[in-house]
């Protein structure tokens, strides 16, 4: 057992370890490796953020200059002509997202309540949780094909094929797993003491959930719902063959409707300058809307901690 007593600064010469100076020594192997891996992690982190910054900057530069009142309020021009706007697509996106929310929020929150509060973690609940995870991983275009087969090709709504309603339902299928999962997780975070408190003073299970448990989980649920809406609002694939597109103002929810994501998809590949410019402008508006929704979700999150 050889030990180097010359580097031992304390009297514990019997120690089996080398004792060196307390001063930082950069040339030690562990310090060199440390520096290398720190730099490596920094480079990867910067690479990961780069696309986000570049996309935002590019869309801002290309589309930001076109923002005007006319853009937000007018119809797109016929091919070959100049001017016009994306007013119908903005309204369409709002309508379709609203339909999706009206379907997905009640169903999703109800499902989440069932999973967290009523199910006794039995077979059925396990199946629903597993199914939710699978649904969250289903590609969005599959949702579109599913709704196309279920609603568009069968013409169930007043013999209409493509419609805003079909688009909304496709987006609702996409939103559903997010809403169920956030509700389930948020309710599980509510301390059991709170439920006992309500039940201990004679509240029924229903009253406990509606008046005590849900309100205290409101913020995380609302945050999850807003993020789900933001995600759905930007989807293109499920809308291409459900809501289709329309160059006119919306004519009710059972007719084809223009949405911003499909407008971008259609116009960006057209050989006309005006249409390409509108696609950029629409990209900018869409990004700003989704950014605003995310900021709103964060604001909701802060609201709870206060």
């Amino acid at each position: 057992m050889a030990f180097n007593s010359s580097t031992s600064i304390s009297g514990s010469a019997l120690s089996g370890f080398q004792r060196s100076s307390l001063r930082f020594q950069g040339q030690l192997p562990r310090n060199r490796w440390n520096l290398l891996y720190t730099c490596l992690a920094g480079v990867f982190a910067a690479t990961a953020v780069l696309p986000l910054v570049l996309v935002l900057a590019y869309v801002l530069v290309k589309g930001g200059g076109l923002i005007s009142l006319q853009l937000l309020t007018q119809l797109p021009p016929p091919p070959g002509l100049d001017g016009g706007g994306i007013g119908n697509a903005i309204i369409g996106t709002v309508v379709v997202t609203l339909i999706a929310s009206l379907i997905a929020i009640p169903v999703g929150i109800g499902g989440g309540i069932y999973l967290a509060e009523y199910s006794q973690s039995g077979k059925f609940a396990q199946f629903v949780r597993f199914g939710t995870n699978v649904l969250a991983g289903v590609p969005s275009i599959i949702c579109g094909v599913f709704v196309y087969g279920l609603i568009v090709s069968t013409r169930v709504f007043f013999d209409q094929s493509y419609s805003a309603m079909a688009g909304g339902i496709a987006l609702a299928v996409l939103m559903l797993p997010t809403v169920i999962k956030t509700t389930d997780e948020a309710l599980k975070l509510v301390p059991n003491e709170l439920r006992w408190g309500a039940i201990g003073i004679g509240a029924s299970k229903f009253v406990t959930i509606v008046k005590v448990t849900l309100p205290s989980a409101f913020t995380p649920i609302a945050t999850g719902v807003v993020l789900g809406i933001a995600r759905a609002a930007g989807e293109t694939a499920p809308l291409i063959f459900t809501a289709l597109f329309s160059p006119f103002w919306p004519e009710g929810v059972f007719n084809p409707i223009a949405t911003m994501s499909v407008l971008i998809f259609n116009f960006a590949i057209m050989p006309y300058e005006a249409q390409i410019a509108l696609a950029w402008a629409a990209s900018f508006v869409l990004v700003v809307m989704i950014l605003a929704a995310n900021l709103f979700a964060r604001w909701l999150g802060r609201f709870a901690q206060a």
Partner: protein, 273 residues
């Protein structure tokens, strides 16, 4: 504040039992937690449950207002009789049971609402039709917290200190005018001064309510209770794990001065285990 001369042998003096346990055995999943409990809890008095951890005193307490229903896999054999009715009979509504037998928990658990709403909530869902302001004031006064909260009834219940929160929870339990109040170690998370306030309040409360309290603090049992039940853990007959049982149930003075069981004597004099 010290114990106000507990009545000896209350049951023989014609006091009617408020709650009766007959051969109660409670199991979690397949394993028994507490076995063979017989007990008559007298009306209008404070009954304390003491005993080492894991002896099932909290389990028995929760069985008294069917809070155990909320725990998955918990089942009860035997009878718990309240008002001449078996609480575990098939046609009994547990929600109604909990309206008559209120509960205060170990950790203060006010609702994330205003102080006023914390009290009014229980009353409202129980269909209270009277003057709500008056009920809130009366409940807070009974729980000895009115003076500290009367100027901030609109503030959140979370803004109070731990001891105040616990008294708020007691006020919340009182507001629905139960007949019995169960307290599961209500002072274990509190400082001595808050504990003292709650004990003083309990002496006031027993004029109108029956109180059952679980405590780890034997001095507290001596100070507040009239009757004391000592729970103990014993190895199971088949040598597989341990099970709780009620070792001795008698007036508090008897338990602490002249217990009939050796295990009780050992526990109350600190010579346990």
């Amino acid at each position: 504040m010290t114990s106000s001369a507990p009545t000896m042998a209350p049951l023989s003096q014609g006091t009617l039992p408020c709650l009766e346990l007959e051969n109660v055995t409670i199991s979690y999943g397949g394993s028994e937690a507490v076995r063979g409990v017989y007990m008559q809890i007298p009306r209008g008095q404070i009954t304390a449950f003491i005993g080492p951890s894991g002896c099932g005193k909290s389990t028995v307490l929760r069985a008294l207002n069917r809070m155990n229903d909320l725990i998955e896999g918990c089942s009860l054999k035997g009878r718990v009789i309240f008002d001449g009715q078996d609480l575990y009979a098939r046609d009994v509504d547990p929600v109604e049971v909990r309206r008559r037998i209120g509960m205060v928990f170990q950790k203060p658990n006010p609702f994330p609402k205003s102080i006023y709403e914390n009290i009014a909530f229980g009353a409202r869902i129980n269909g209270y039709r009277g003057d709500m302001d008056e009920l809130v004031e009366r409940s807070l006064r009974k729980a000895a917290i009115w003076d500290e909260t009367k100027d901030k009834l609109k503030e959140s219940g979370y803004a109070l200190s731990g001891g105040q929160q616990q008294r708020l929870c007691i006020a919340r339990a009182i507001a629905i005018e139960p007949e019995v109040i169960l307290m599961d170690e209500p002072c274990s998370a509190l400082d001595p001064i808050s504990t003292l306030k709650i004990e003083e309040m309990m002496h006031e409360l027993k004029k109108s309510y029956t109180i059952v309290i679980v405590t780890h603090n034997m001095q507290q049992a001596v100070r507040v209770s009239d009757m004391t039940g000592f729970f103990n853990v014993t190895p199971k007959a088949d040598g597989d794990g341990k099970v709780g049982c009620l070792e001795e149930f008698a007036p508090t003075e008897t338990i602490f001065n002249a217990p009939s069981q050796q295990a009780t004597q050992d526990y109350v004099s600190g010579r346990f285990g």
